[in-house]
Symmetry: C2
Subunit: 124 residues, 2 copies
Amino acid sequence: MSEDGQEGDPVEIWCAGEEWCAVTATASLIGKKWHPVIVDRLLTNGPLGFNALKEAVDGISSKVLSDSLEDLEERGIVTREVISEKPFRVEYDLTERGRDLGPVIDAMRTWGKAHLVPADERES
Amino acid sequence: MSEDGQEGDPVEIWCAGEEWCAVTATASLIGKKWHPVIVDRLLTNGPLGFNALKEAVDGISSKVLSDSLEDLEERGIVTREVISEKPFRVEYDLTERGRDLGPVIDAMRTWGKAHLVPADERES
DNA sequence: CGGCATCCACATGGATACTG
DNA sequence: CAGTATCCATGTGGATGCCG
């Protein structure tokens, strides 16, 4: 910040070609506490309204969900579409780029299920 | 915290069986700014000493590296072995569990390389 | 070499309440 | 329904310096 043309932790233009850079940048995306859950939810339950998504994520406050969705929008992961004005309805959905996170989420889930033991069958 | 037998953001016993939980827990691990890089570095460059690792990660301060390694140790991702006492040497390496993060890192890298454009060839 | 001790700045998440 | 507005606690990273 206050350096060049970048603002904060910007869109999707961080790094050039270095391998680990793509990794870190991706980490800064799915490392946010709720981001992976939101993406997972949208992957599974299709397009969702704000409160429906809030229900699906379960445990998130509206402020944080709002913040997260804004972040995900800016990064081109989710889309926000206003469905109707009078009974005000919107729908959040994943972009192509967002759907491409599927394998990442899945790898994470696989690892988690393999190594995060359920609190009672700890071996060694 | 201050609930039951857990302390802070503990070892590896968060969630029981729910799918998204494994995802979130994994995110809390690889979401720390330097964790994925450290793991990646150790995956690539084999066992490393503290300063060698610091070099390899490039840009991290000793305090943060120290914190990160402690965290990763507690979670059973890396091992710390004292090689020699007199010229004091240690070596950090990945555990089996740590190596299993390979696919996750890889999925992240793949996504990153596909969607994080290098700041000059943005094609909307 | 391999850290730890401080201190600090800022990001992130959360609770609660209120609005169009 | 779909958020915004506050305010606050904590987490997380970073700079610098010192130590065994």
